[in-house]
Symmetry: C2
Subunit: 466 residues, 2 copies
């Protein structure tokens, strides 16, 4: 993204009210094939609004609108589109036009786009770029997508530490149009190693003839290029930064990760966790196709189905017990569901706690012990409740005792498993959200049913004996 | 937060490596009661790191550390603490010390803190403030916590539109120490109405004698004070802003909402959704007490327990059918769980889609229709699978047909309910995440069991007749 971190203005958003009238007028101009009118309607709109408008168009109409915008504006709009749509639009746009638009895009955006393309088309597109920009892009492509290197932009402002404040400001005047919004002014030595940092305000209020090395702040918070993007995001959020510099092994500054990209990473991560906990994948959000969405969900569901077949097997194994006391069948879902519910609560708390760093800090052992205490308290409360209700409704002491005891046991097991699984995955450096909600509830269905019938066999034998 | 949006530096974080050695030294100095050594160890640490350190201390030790820091540093650390801990610490700190720390805190932070206190203590604390700051705080307290007004800071930079660029820079030099990081320079007319905006860079590169009204951008994106904080956050994220101005009914600028607070809002919102989908409340994260956590989860669990008692009732109602074909009991959890799983998937997709605005844009009708198609595809696939497996394992055509048909119906119902409930809640302006995962799965357990036994009665009658 290039110019959109600039102070936000938009004829379309136009404050809070934000009319949709330009939408209709632009749509009409496009339908009438009136390129000039369409260009005028689009002129005042914010790129983010135009990108939304483009996404609402039929895929075939999208390149038509992009094609008639001035290249700088087209680039800003393309940068706001999802990568699949970007490559779609640029493919149809025609070589000359695509070159013009690419020329206005920032190198990190181009690298993200090229990363999505099949190799042949990627090479083709790289050839369209100016030599210098192609080199930047190739360098960015070397970093993995989900690392600081993959997230950073190479457009930042750095000045030599032996410049005076006035000279530094002069350098900014020359460099600034190339750089993204000036978040911070980084200070480097002769070998390009990061030495310090200044805000633009600090530079302005400093005496013009002071050297920047004497006014800069040292001990700059920076990240290595291979740091995971979520870790970078947490760091920026924790220290309330607007941007964080990315450095190589020798401490040379390679680029910066800016707060707006961090916002996107945090949002992506939250989406991923929510979809996973719900038992599907966040790839869903990218596709409007019902077939594709069903296809993404199916493996989970089939896996869970097989899990529930084990539950069926467990019940079948106890069919003797079930024949003796038919009433036991009524409460199978009760036991399984409550275990599942308790497990889901623990899971949600653990997954989010790990994501926000709340749990890492206070140590996992403590989180585990606390969850065990919570489970015990809940187990006692719900065992008593369900014993009372079952006793009152069935009149059977034996059935009520079975449900009560199994309930208590199940809840303690469920809350422990619910927190243990994500903590263990985290230790193994696997995303804890992989342990999706339905996965854990199905496992608990199996355990819960087993505990229920084992308790039943035991207690019924005792009641029969007593 | 005052100075922490400044370029991030920290002896503690110190780049990527970030040693923990100062942690141990600070702890030792505190244990030894060596105030001077503790102050020195703390001097280089970032306020966010110190706040983490404070949270890890025993509650009784926290005010002791805060008490020995210089007031400016103490204020920065206190601002990073959760509100409950803030008020705890300030209460114990003693009047004089508390006044010194409060004097260094920004008005929006003080307002947030006071909003958390019991009224008597709030009044007491307001009296400790300087007249001018107390007025600022009182003004901020008038806005609801979760609105733009509740989120904004009153420390921003605005210049009159008839100043020249050079005069505006001079104003900045005078005002800047009072203001948070200068994100954007807002331009106002004689009546304080927001007229335009400039980046600091644009101001610097402008010819010094040009009037700001001639170089500013107009059509500034702004928000009203009563806009919901999530809406504000979405807007800032969408337009990649660093800050957005908050205006009153006459267009006068009241304050700004900055991107770091927006990051916090987005994180809170994601946490809330994840906890809710898991069937508990995000209040959990604030408390380490197992009793409190159990107490928060209990109402959900008891409600769900009552739901599962309805399931028990349904099964009991069909006990004649169950007696005739005992094998039906084996697959009760299978049917209920699969419906629950499908419902949870739809729910996660809908809740997150509504939160990120993905669904709002493309209309709800379309989302509903798509989910229905997904449900139908999944229903067909899983009906066939479960028919095959049950047929093979039980050898009973009647049981297999019952499970297959009920499965198909349940899945279509589940995917529709899973998306319908959050969409309906959203229409009614209720947070869609209120429809927690366990709530929907329990409802689906009831419906699923009913559908299963109705199908069984019908098919068994047909098989018996045929």
């Amino acid at each position: 993204m290039t110019a959109d971190r600039e102070p936000g203005t938009s004829a379309a958003a136009g404050g809070a009210a934000g009319g949709q009238a330009w939408h209709d007028r632009l749509r009409a101009a496009l339908a009438a094939g009136d390129a000039e009118a369409a260009r005028q309607e689009a002129a005042g709109a914010h790129p983010a609004d135009l990108a939304e408008f483009v996404l609402d168009l039929e895929p075939a109409d999208r390149p038509r609108l992009i094609g008639l915008l001035p290249p700088e504006q087209a680039a800003l709009v393309v940068e706001e589109l999802p990568p699949e749509v970007q490559s779609e639009v640029l493919t149809v746009l025609g070589r000359e036009r695509a070159v013009a638009v690419l020329g206005e895009m920032s190198s990190d955006e181009i690298a993200d786009l090229i990363g999505e393309l099949p190799p042949a088309r990627a090479v083709d597109l790289l050839r369209l770029l100016r030599e210098e920009e192609a080199a930047d892009v190739r360098e960015l492509l070397a970093y993995l997508d989900d690392t600081a290197g993959g997230l950073m932009t190479t457009e930042f402002v750095a000045v030599q530490d032996d410049l005076t404040a006035a000279e530094a400001i002069e350098t900014l005047r020359r460099l600034a149009p190339e750089a993204e919004t000036v978040y911070y002014v980084y200070v480097v030595d002769q070998e390009e190693r990061l030495r310090g940092v200044l805000s633009l305000r600090e530079l302005i209020v400093a005496p013009p003839d002071r050297r920047v090395r004497d006014i800069m702040r040292t001990n700059v918070i920076s990240v290595p290029a291979d740091m995971d993007q979520e870790e970078v995001a947490r760091l920026v959020a924790k220290y309330d930064l607007l941007a964080v510099p990315v450095v190589d092994g020798e401490g040379r500054i390679l680029g910066i990760v800016t707060v707006d990209d961090v916002v996107d990473v945090l949002e992506e991560e939250a989406s991923e966790d929510i979809y996973r906990l719900g038992g599907t994948s966040d790839e869903e959000a990218a596709s409007p196709s019902a077939w594709f969405r069903a296809w993404l969900r199916l493996p989970w569901l089939v896996g869970l189905l097989l899990g529930e077949l084990i539950v069926a097997r467990v019940i079948q194994g106890f069919h003797g017990t079930l024949e003796r006391v038919e009433q036991l069948a009524y409460f199978i879902p009760l036991l399984a569901a409550t275990a599942g519910n308790v497990g889901t609560q623990s899971l949600a708390v653990a997954v989010r706690g790990l994501a926000t760093g709340e749990i890492r800090r206070r140590e996992m052992g403590r989180a585990l012990a606390r969850e065990f205490r919570v489970g015990t308290l809940l187990g006692i409360a719900l065992a008593a409740t369900s014993y009372g209700i079952v006793r009152a409704t069935t009149g059977s002491q034996a059935v009520a005792a079975t449900v009560g005891v199994a309930m208590g046991l199940n809840i303690v097991i469920a809350s422990s498993i619910g927190v243990l699984v994500p903590l263990a995955l985290h230790r193994l450096r696997v995303d804890p959200a992989v342990a999706s909600g339905p996965f854990v509830t199905t496992a608990l269905d199996i355990v819960g049913t087993l505990v229920y019938f084992l308790t039943a066999s035991l207690l019924l034998w005792r009641y029969a004996a007593g």
